[in-house]
Symmetry: D2
Subunit: 155 residues, 4 copies
Amino acid sequence: MTSTAERDDSALRIADFSVTREMTTRWSDNDMYGHLNNAVYYELFDAAINSWIIEQTGFDATSSDVLGVVAESGCRYFQQVTYPNDVLVALRIARLGHSSVAYDLGLFEITSHVDSASLPIAARGRWVHVYVDRRSRQPTAVPTQIRALLEEYAP
Amino acid sequence: MTSTAERDDSALRIADFSVTREMTTRWSDNDMYGHLNNAVYYELFDAAINSWIIEQTGFDATSSDVLGVVAESGCRYFQQVTYPNDVLVALRIARLGHSSVAYDLGLFEITSHVDSASLPIAARGRWVHVYVDRRSRQPTAVPTQIRALLEEYAP
Amino acid sequence: MTSTAERDDSALRIADFSVTREMTTRWSDNDMYGHLNNAVYYELFDAAINSWIIEQTGFDATSSDVLGVVAESGCRYFQQVTYPNDVLVALRIARLGHSSVAYDLGLFEITSHVDSASLPIAARGRWVHVYVDRRSRQPTAVPTQIRALLEEYAP
Amino acid sequence: MTSTAERDDSALRIADFSVTREMTTRWSDNDMYGHLNNAVYYELFDAAINSWIIEQTGFDATSSDVLGVVAESGCRYFQQVTYPNDVLVALRIARLGHSSVAYDLGLFEITSHVDSASLPIAARGRWVHVYVDRRSRQPTAVPTQIRALLEEYAP
């Protein structure tokens, strides 16, 4: 996690990602230190990835034979984010495999005096979904409709 | 909780409230039964009330001498709400006292095929904030700026 | 909510309830005011009621034909509770009907210098579960095994 | 993240860590797939690290001049964990610096038929706390009492 490329993460802007989702924050997201608790970033990443997939493919998580479960996640925090500000979660596909997909994510705090293109990145996330059979929980191919969407954005 | 008036709660619509706030939901909000967990409704009520107060009065929860703490809350659930749908939280002032304020709340699930005025109410909330001194935690008067806002909407 | 009986709620002690469950709190439970966020009490009530039912009856929420969904909840907050202290959630059956059950709940903060019998009640909760068919979501009878458990404790 | 050493992560057992904390889970922790949501693991890591520090050093997060904020976190998920089971969070110090500390974490699901020494690891976490001045939020030395604790366990 210390390569030159990664040390420049804080220079990333929204234009470096493929898709953005705007989200609201909650009073309960702020912890004792008056800023979003670190676990909330993962809730927001999860909300963004899945709402995008559901909206674009009609995926139904309650009845599908195949589930995307999280195999790995990570986040580096550059700047604190504070309720009641809204956030933008931006994502791009880092790698698409047979049964898994890795996302590269950015979280941006929306503040009234900065236009969105110039917003500094507050946190950078990594996320790996592995698709598994609902019953056996064994890895299986990414469902066709989801693969079609991901291929549009894969590197 | 069983008066005639209250049995008609499910007839309430957005126009019956004074203020509305739109909010996003999260994958993690849905519980094992595939709908928003009951505690999430309270997170959304809290987020709506406080973001409205902060936006309208500039209240700073990290430095103010006086805090609004929850003395009582309650919710009746009429219809399930499901991520990834957005919600509208609507509020009106039920009672404004010297050191406390009671809110009457409605939660509405935004669905693409219904215009907002006709949305059925999914849940109805009650919420009492008591204002206390930050150090002593003893009740004190509602802060002047917040009182001015609440009086505009008080019954 | 202002009858004489209810004004004496803060005199309730653990011995006034039938069942107690000990639970841990989390850093993320404390909000900006340095105490458990109000919505967390509902998460703890939910955790206590359901872990008791699951442990005593073997109820399997992922496969059962009938679900217990929350129709109504409420809480009055008497004293703040603070992570990292553990809590005791205490419950008793307030009313058992054909398809629903109402619980009366107390939440107690465990502090090293007070024995549990003397702990002051920090919050009092109400909770109504209605049992519904998983598919139709229409009310149905409380499942036999759960009813047998609840009847042992019903008033 | 793919070295030989790391591929063997799933062989880690509680004895490979220095400190363990037992924690309860909640109904609301289980998501639509009937297992703990991925973000909950971070809540549990956070709860374990901080309750250990607070218990051992008397650190007061509400008044201290110096705060430990999360600079980086990560998790790999090997096995699902399901409410209502309790969990053990185990930690060891990976690296102790002037103003930061890195933790290596394991999460274990407590099941009745396996003794704790043999529990398979369900997830492995990484966690970096950087200590900052409360006002300026600039990095500063790890507070003396916390450093004394961490040095006992540092590699």
